[in-house]
């Protein structure tokens, strides 16, 4: 291609200021795929999406979920989504912004949902994730605990779990407890849950 390079170099010398330059094209393949996901969203009434940075930043958005049944009925839970430029090669980063008493969500907002980490596949999409999050509220599961205390209560005493959830949603602190970390760790040694069952979201593909 050297002849071509030479021709180009000569042309460049001749036409240094001929055109105003090419604007940079920054839209990545990830953004385009996300655009498709978003334009095809089909959310249940209990879920709403918003774009804090306006209509042209789809890579950062928020989803609020108002469960219409189960322990969390009546609550509103906000999640932030951060989508990488190499989406869908990589799953979005999702955090729960609402403090919640939940076995699969910790107080830092980390969420244990298999399709967000170990079971993410590029054929999944934003809709699948939102359904997966919704499902965590209708069927919290004590076998994949991130909040160990909440998981133990759900397993051993569902009535108390229900009342704890109610109290937490009403603004009371259920588990802010100075020995929480210690409890968690001793609890761990007592129960070795080696098999990890996570909710399979594949049915929503």
């Amino acid at each position: 291609m050297i002849r071509l390079f030479k021709v180009k170099e000569k042309q460049k010398e001749l036409a240094e200021n001929a055109n105003g330059g090419v604007p940079i094209k920054k839209q990545t393949a990830g953004e385009l795929r996300l655009h498709k996901d978003i334009s095809e969203l089909n959310l249940p009434k209990s879920c709403a999406i918003s774009f804090p940075n306006g209509k042209d930043d789809l890579m950062n958005f928020e989803v609020s979920i108002r469960p219409d049944e189960g322990y969390y009925f009546g609550g509103t839970f906000l999640f932030s989504f951060q989508v990488s430029p190499i989406y869908p090669h990589e799953a979005p980063k999702v955090k729960c912004k609402t403090k919640v008493y939940h076995p699969n969500i910790d107080l830092e907002g980390n969420v244990c949902l298999n399709i967000l980490r170990e079971d993410w596949k590029p054929v999944l999409n934003i809709n699948t994730i939102i359904y997966g999050l919704y499902h965590l509220f209708t069927e919290p599961n004590y076998e994949d605990p991130l909040n160990h205390d909440a998981a133990a209560v759900l397993r051993d005493n569902p009535k108390m779990f229900e009342s704890n959830v109610r109290r937490a949603m009403a603004g009371y602190h259920v588990l802010i407890n100075p020995t929480r970390a210690a409890n968690r760790e001793t609890g761990l040694i007592k129960q070795q849950w080696l098999s990890s069952w996570c909710w399979q979201a594949m049915c929503f593909i």
């Binding site: 291609m1 604007p23 978003i38 334009s39 209509k55 994949d144």
Partner: protein, 448 residues
């Protein structure tokens, strides 16, 4: 011709460049002129000055390239010194690009290397436009994807959807992981681009958060617990910075405590770095092999002295040694390197009219289209909040919404109704507005 050649410092190179051959590329014209032109006109950008980048710069300089530039945002760390052979202990803390350029210029006379100590995203399109070939020595998918999008954005297609050679920006991409590596040639419009074959990269292994929190079983689980869960618990709001040694040390210390609690062995500082930054130990010789292949392909593309690799070489030294060349095929609908569908419009066509036209267009047959232009969402069918925000655009001329650019790329998503079957699709369009000064033919800028 060869007889007339003056004495050369590059005797071996001359054997390739001055003599005709049977296995040469289609446009090969051997001779002194070729050798001189390569030195004068070929400008190569090396992206990355790490393990592969150091090798690439040295190999390209020794292959007779005189105009090189190198871009890298990192500073030299002690742990680099075993394989990034251009760096010395006293260089720790200095920008890799600057030291690498200086060292190669000291050793190879006549070569000029311009370093750029910055992020690849910091440079504008004119910067990249200036190079004839881009050689990639990177370790991230994200950075490759970015450079690929930039290189493909120069590509133009003619009215018959044939790529125009003068707009092609060839790339040579190398990559290594331990004893494995790959070298590939990407000529946008001719070979598959990075995005056409992104599925070649295996997804990262991610541990379930609940395993990290409850049932850690190995050292990596302890490290990820400290990195992903404990960090946020202790440093509320402060982001973890993998390049900050204090942060890394903190994660390491926490991981050690966690490992002790569960009776797990094997947490070390370097494993912590490896897990957090997703690094696989680099092998100097793998870098050397892959870089040599890449440098040679760069020379072949520029000079035509031999046919180029077509198009993907894998090297595996894990058990014995295997190398294999695979010819991957382009994704003809690739959003980044593909031609897209050509659409000619009057400047008065409104966005609504345009969306209606897509339904009738024989190559698209797309209903319920959402439209995005250079990161601006012109119209979104869903969700309702975005539909409402973009609805007012429907009555405006598309030409105005595209900033009165006579020809450009748009992307559309919607439902494709083909053979009575509905499927969802994402398409690239080359839009040309009729009757605008300056558009003399149907040629059209390509790219992402």
């Amino acid at each position: 011709m060869a007889d007339a050649a003056p004495p050369s410092k590059s005797r071996d190179l001359d054997k390739l460049l001055l003599r005709p051959g049977n296995l040469v590329g289609p446009s090969f014209e051997p001779g002194v002129q070729l050798r001189d032109d390569l030195q004068e006109y070929a400008k190569v950008l090396v992206v990355g000055a790490g393990g592969l980048g150091c090798e690439l710069l040295k190999d390209l300089a020794l292959s007779g390239f005189k105009n090189l530039e190198v871009i890298d945002m990192d500073r030299i760390e002690v742990t680099n010194l075993n394989r990034q052979f251009l760096f010395r202990l006293e260089d720790v803390g200095k920008p890799k690009a600057e030291v690498a350029a200086k060292r190669v210029m000291e050793r190879v006379s006549g070569v000029n290397i311009v370093p750029h100590f910055c992020r690849i995203e910091d440079k504008d399109i004119e910067f990249y436009s200036d190079f004839n070939i881009i050689a990639l020595g990177l370790d991230s998918i994200e950075a490759r994807s970015y450079i690929n999008a930039v290189a493909c954005s120069f590509l133009e297609y003619d009215s018959d959807d044939n790529p125009r050679e003068e707009t092609m920006k060839p790339m040579v991409d190398g990559g290594t992981e331990g004893f494995k590596g790959h070298a590939r040639v990407i000529v946008p419009g001719v070979t598959p681009c990075f995005e056409c074959t992104i599925w070649l990269f295996p997804p990262q292994v991610k541990f379930p958060l609940c395993t990290l929190a409850e049932t850690p079983r190995n050292a990596a689980h302890c490290i990820e617990y400290a990195h992903l869960i404990k960090w946020d618990e202790v440093h509320s709001g402060k982001a973890f910075d993998p390049d900050n040694p204090d942060h890394m040390k903190w994660v390491y210390d926490e991981a050690v405590k966690r490992a002790e609690l569960f009776g797990i062995q094997g947490v070390t500082y370097s494993l912590t770095q490896g897990v957090v930054k997703n690094i696989i130990p680099a092998i100097a010789s793998t870098n050397a092999i892959i870089s040599a292949a890449c440098a040679l392909e760069t020379l072949k593309i520029a000079s035509g002295c031999s046919k180029t690799l077509s198009n993907y070489l894998t090297y595996n030294g894990v058990e014995g040694l295997h190398t294999k060349v695979t010819e991957f095929v382009k994704d003809k609908d690739c959003l980044v390197c593909g031609p897209g569908v050509l659409v000619e419009l009057d400047t008065t066509v409104t966005l609504q009219k345009f969306i209606d036209m897509l339904e009738e267009h024989p190559k698209l047959l797309m209903s319920k289209a959402s439209i995005t232009y250079r990161g601006k969402n012109l119209y979104m069918q869903a969700p309702p909040v975005l539909e409402e925000m973009t609805r007012s655009n429907l009555s405006l001329p598309l030409y105005d919404l595209m900033d009165k650019v006579p020809k450009d790329i748009l992307h559309v998503t919607g439902t494709i109704n083909k053979d009575n079957k509905k499927s969802s699709g994402l398409r690239k369009l080359r839009v040309i507005f009729k009757g605008i000064d300056g558009v003399t033919d149907m040629d059209m800028a390509g790219g992402a």
